[in-house]
Amino acid sequence: MISIQSLLGAAEQGLIYSLVAMGLYISYRVLEVADLTTDGSFTLGAACSACLATTGNPLLGLLMAFVGGVLAGAVTAFLQTVCKIQPILAGIITMTGLYSINLIVMGNRQNLPLLKNSTLFTMVEEILGKQMGGLVAAGAAALLVAGFLVWFLSTQLGLMVRAAGNNPTMLVTCAVSPAIGVVTGLCLANGIIALSGGLLAQQQKFSDSNLGTGMVVVGLASLIIGETIVGKGKTFRSVVGILVGSVVYRIIIALALRSNLGASNLKLVSAVIVAIAISLPAIRSAWEVHKRKKEAAAGA
């Protein structure tokens, strides 16, 4: 039903996109805000990475993708903490502004192809061969970021990010401004998300100004699929879940592509997955109550 070839392709893509889910883990799960900067910072990462790859500096491009994402996160954090704009709106404002910035980064073009340019992926493929090169590069990037995330969230600064999301009052009593946790978290989240965009641009050899559209939903879908399969718990478990969830999500998408759903309906599929997955707890408890009501009625 699905070839090894497309399975490996899905794994490669899933590992690249897993960085989006890891970024959203920081903002959505740890900081407990829905950060819509994501769509813009993903595209920004792709633009930075593609732009520098065309000048022959693909690795610098990835670094700048990360830095660009951090800056985007800083803008959203500034809007949230200093200007006191609601988190969702703050993200939308940054994302909207980024649309123009991304076009500028790509030299006022809608898209930027990297046909003959060297990328991280062509570099690794030269060593390991076309078959495994891409997968290894994507896997290494994903594992590196995953390891970093697990470590970071256990450090003092990581604890501040976690406390800022879960109980900012406690952070105040520890003489730390919750803004520090919010800024750190949003910068890191968007840096990682932009790195994902940067990797994707180099892997598929082009960047596009609409690359990030709907990326929040894609990332959340992967995150939630992972939590459903692997379960929630400590950071380590969650991160493993994200890696699994992202690959599974890409396999679902590959299957959807092979069926007669068609590529244009992919976003709808993602949206439906996220809507169902997020409402699952509510549906489940409503069902429980319904069952117990029935039992009570039968008993009476």
Partner: protein, 265 residues
């Protein structure tokens, strides 16, 4: 040590009534003041103002001669420890006991090693401190705080608030949400830690017996003001009954509702 001068706060939602109405209070170093007053008297509002949760409309707050009236709340936390009534407020439920303690160990960000994880020796130190509480938390270092009981959480918050001796400790009905036995246990722990480090303390309570049994000064608040202040020999002569009578007299006509909240133990 703590010097509060004509502190006034009027909330926009209740413009006709001042939550704090030109309140004056001087507290000496090492004093342990118990704070009484009926619901809505402004006790918590006073604590929030001291802790910096909002800025007063009028008046000043001085701590050790330094004017802290407009200092940000998180900056004051470096020398003001707090335990609130709600056991959920003082700790981060999603983090483990050890992680909560690690954040509270050093106040502010300057004292912290931002990029280091919790070390073994830190954990051993935490375990020693937790064992002193006698609530069996020394074996729960790796458990999320969300799984602890309310009493365990309050004891943990107390430990966190006094990890580095604060100049001033604010306790806002910190045993009110606990069952009588646990409340008694947490009160003993509180007493012990305050005496050990001689921490200047303000404690809000609705328990008249507690208000006399603990501390060395008792104040009564009503309508945003202090209407009674007893200490020294005068206070030694007080009984909960006498306090109750005074309370009715001074806290005015609205005492009918507050009577229920006053348990004579």
């Amino acid at each position: 040590m703590l010097d509060i001068r004509s502190l006034t706060k009027i909330f926009a939602t209740q413009p006709q009534k001042a939550a704090l109405n030109g309140l004056n209070l001087q507290v000496q170093k090492g004093e342990f003041v118990t704070v009484l007053g009926s619901n809505g008297a402004g006790k918590s509002t006073l604590f929030h103002a001291i802790a910096g949760e909002f800025f007063p409309d009028e008046g000043q707050i001085l701590l050790e001669g330094k004017n802290i009236t407009f200092q940000a709340a998180h900056q004051r936390s470096r020398f003001i420890g707090r335990v609130m009534q709600d056991p959920m407020k003082g700790t981060v439920p999603a983090m483990t006991v050890a992680e909560n303690l690690a954040l509270a160990e050093h106040k502010g960000i300057k004292g912290k090693k931002l990029f280091s994880s919790i070390t073994k020796s830190q954990k051993e130190q935490f375990q020693e401190k937790l064992a002193l509480l006698g609530l069996g938390m020394e074996d729960k270092l790796e458990q999320p705080v969300g799984l602890l009981s309310g009493g365990q959480r309050q004891a943990l918050t107390l430990l966190m608030a006094t990890f580095q001796q604060p100049k001033l400790l604010l306790l806002d009905e910190h045993t009110a949400a606990l069952d009588p036995a646990t409340a008694e246990k947490v009160m003993q722990l509180t007493q012990a830690v305050i005496e050990q480090h001689n921490i200047t303390t303000l404690m809000i309570t609705h328990n008249l017996a507690h208000s006399l049994a603990f501390g060395n000064r008792t104040i009564l608040m009503d309508k945003g003001k202090i209407v009674m202040d007893v200490q020294g020999d005068q206070r030694k002569a007080y009984t909960p009954q006498l306090l109750m009578e005074q309370f009715h007299q001074l806290a005015g006509e609205e005492t009918t509702t507050s009577q229920q909240s006053f348990a004579l133990l």
